[in-house]
């Protein structure tokens, strides 16, 4: 397997949507190619970091303003 072919299937490997045979092939390539191993590990880490860190906090008072807006709309009939 060439690096280009590995890269085309990188997402499928990360998302665990490859067949067992293909997974073995991809892992064999990873075992031999340091560059692809770095790309694989750091791409997986990229996703994990974005998934586990809240980068936009809910502004203070927004929840109450939203609740009040929904209640006000309800009073008008909805």
């Amino acid at each position: 397997m060439k690096c280009k072919e590995f890269l085309a299937l990188l997402d499928d490997l990360i998302d665990d949507s490859v067949s067992p045979e293909m997974r073995t092939e991809l892992q064999t390539h990873l075992g031999k190619c340091g560059h692809c191993e770095v790309v694989f590990n750091t791409t997986r880490k990229t996703i994990e970091i974005y998934r586990s860190h809240e980068i936009y906090d809910l502004p203070a008072g927004l929840r109450d303003r939203l609740h009040a807006a929904i209640m006000a709309r309800c009073k008008k009939g909805c």
Partner: protein, 181 residues
């Protein structure tokens, strides 16, 4: 009403995040969140059980966010196809390994700033796909349906978004030379 309130509380963070990622403006994101929940409440009867409530709500929020962007940039069309004609990051260039647990080299606010800056620099069409798929956990099919894209288009954008983010984060997360833990 109290049942709806429970739904609002369950999804408010996600909807606010999505709106903020698309509009990149806190005030707009607040408005979008409010409008999306009000619209969903009004249209609750039209909600068909063949899609999950959450993905239906996300679709409303994405549309509201794009509308808000259009308003802000009067006269300029805004679409999720914007700025995607770039090859940047489609072939990894930075192949140096990252430090172990690289996020620990920054405090919470520094890290949040790095993550915000990095994702804001992605083309819109990649950013939305990454946020829906990887941050908010929608499936490829749900993301395609929400954005009106084909499944191959979602897959190709997701790969490029992930690779571009990885490339950009590498600047901050490189293993420092001579430093081993």
């Amino acid at each position: 009403m109290s049942a709806y309130d429970t739904l609002v509380r369950k999804y408010e963070r996600q909807i606010f995040r999505i709106a903020q990622h698309i509009t990149q403006n806190r005030e707009d994101a607040e408005d979008v969140m409010q409008d999306a929940f009000l619209k969903a409440y009004e249209k609750l009867e039209q909600f068909q059980g063949n899609s999950k409530f959450y993905t239906w709500l996300v679709r409303i929020a994405v549309n509201e966010s794009l509308m808000r962007l259009r308003k802000r940039r009067t006269g300029k069309m805004v679409s999720i196809d914007e700025d995607i004609e770039t090859d940047e990051g489609s072939v990894p260039r930075d192949l140096a390994d990252w430090a172990p647990d690289p996020e620990q080299n920054y405090n919470q606010s520094e890290l949040a700033e790095i993550l915000r800056k990095t994702i804001q620099g992605l083309p819109q069409g990649f950013r939305i796909v990454f946020v829906l798929r990887d941050v908010e956990g929608l499936s490829t099919e749900e993301t395609a349906e929400t954005l009106g894209l084909s499944i191959p288009a979602v897959k190709s954008r997701l790969l490029r978004a992930r690779l571009q983010l990885r490339e950009r984060l590498s600047r901050y997360f490189h293993r420092k030379k001579g430093v081993e833990r």
